[in-house]
Symmetry: D3
Subunit: 126 residues, 6 copies
């Protein structure tokens, strides 16, 4: 975290590459087209500051992320991205099924149904 | 799931006892005072139908639950309960810290701050 | 709706009296202490413009209101108020029980548990 | 509720047929393609355990459902489905209009505007 | 606010014309196709009763609106509309960038990312 | 942002002192009692990375923050804190009144009523 802004951005994109190979180019281009600091601030916080921390393995972090995004229900695009990222970091389809069913308990059946849509899409693309 | 309603209720309360020893009496009394079917329907769905399923260990399920409740931010009482349940099922304080920091990424700093309050309360009571 | 602001405020408070006898004084004092227009704008919209409309009886409107507030989970005080208002406008305890169980389907078990707390409080006070 | 899993699934799909003729095949195929237990767990809870209960007629339950989904705003697909289901179970267009206007009071104008989109789509398709 | 319903509707649509030239026809046609009172009740409350008030300039109100809609995350269509309306009422692109980054602090990175999508779309169309 | 972690923490607490004199000690003690990195990660992101940026004055940022927190409705404690911080950074009571009324438009009357409670509390304490 004492990294320069350039390091912080680089580290964030390196972690993003683990979540989905090829994603860093697309995501950075999208954010750079908005503002030159957006990649470092948003992805630097998300990935360099937090997700890259030790204490919980990346696979478990992706399980938490899809649970949160599915429960909140306000970011369907990111939910589908993290469904793929979960598979890419070693989460099994069986585990995703269980997470999605558990979403129904805490956030309701429609939230779970939406997560099923995202999961099925990820299952066919990864 | 082919259990009689009585079995379904009994199994739900048995799992609740794992989450927090002594909780079943208190929770069932609360729900029975509302309606005689509430314990079976609500806890039967939550615990007998879903949380008791194999595929994800109970410890990991509690990690997911506190992430979802913290991200949603609408059930502070249940969040604190599941912080204690997480500790009771083997989640470490370090893991709870990491989950709470990750909540900041996906649901914002205030959601994370509220989860810190819940976690600190659980840390002192378990 | 072609009423003067004074009429609009008066009509809103008259409907509020149906929801809970004695509430208009308390609520208007609270809002007047914030800004002199708040009662007319907020309650005038809520009650004079919308809830007083024909097409759905007041009892059914209160059922809808407690369902929405319970599902959203962000206004526990108003949820408890409208639990009492529901009882005051003819909603039965059995109907409230059913609404609260249905909340679990669409918004999850914690939302339903919080609604149980509000309902039980209303049951003892009305 | 002492039904076997097969009965519970069958009963859920039978109620779904009342909500929208032809929907059970489509919905069950979607859920079966995710996991063999999903139909029973999700629809069994929603429809067999809760919505099929007595105490509130199905028509009133659909009014509550569209109010909740519109207020939450996180499941536009299900909102439109339940707009159609409301019409199919006897809710009138006038009642849907009133519900949608009441959503504005409790969840804001944008939530109501989104519900108008869903309602208009249902009005043209049922 | 002592306006007749017709005045209230007219004033709301006049303000909407400031937010996006040409929008009143499209929005009123959409709402009139739902119910003849919808424009007056929904837009009359939003624009005539509240947004047209003095105390905060229209430009600052649009900044608040895009912050709220981005943080709530449940009305992506209205968020994009108000991104354009913000530009039309004098909010600069730099200010929108700052608002969107601040959304990340209070509502999380995915909410901010969705707001970036809406902002970029508005930037190309206004 | 090329600051060391120590600098980033220090800068965040310095900005917090502007929001509410005396707050840094209390907030840092709270966060330090949770984890030694929490102050830097959470407040460093919120204040050093984002809120301290140029492009929008601090006063306008606090207006945005109370609008977002009021609309989300999930952090009543932080909402009241930022009501005080808004006053401390030059937002007038009249402006807060207008923001709170505008919250009703986009997030509903209950969200606005809760914000009135927070505002009135801040008005008496600052």
């Amino acid at each position: 975290m004492s990294a320069t802004p350039t390091d912080r951005r680089t580290q964030a994109l390196a972690l993003l590459e683990w979540l989905e190979p090829g994603a860093p180019e697309r995501v950075a281009e999208n954010l750079d087209g908005f503002h030159g600091d957006a990649t470092e601030i948003l992805l630097g916080f998300a990935f360099t500051d937090v997700v890259a921390r030790e204490g919980i393995p990346l696979k478990a972090r992706e399980m938490l992320t899809i649970a949160m995004l599915a429960a909140m229900g306000t970011a369907p695009g990111q939910l589908e991205f993290h469904m793929r990222a979960a598979l890419n970091t070693g989460v099994t389809r069986e585990e995703i099924v269980e997470i999605v069913l558990q979403v129904a308990v805490y956030a309701g059946i429609p939230a779970s149904m939406n997560a099923i849509t995202a999961a099925k899409s990820a299952f066919t693309s990864v």
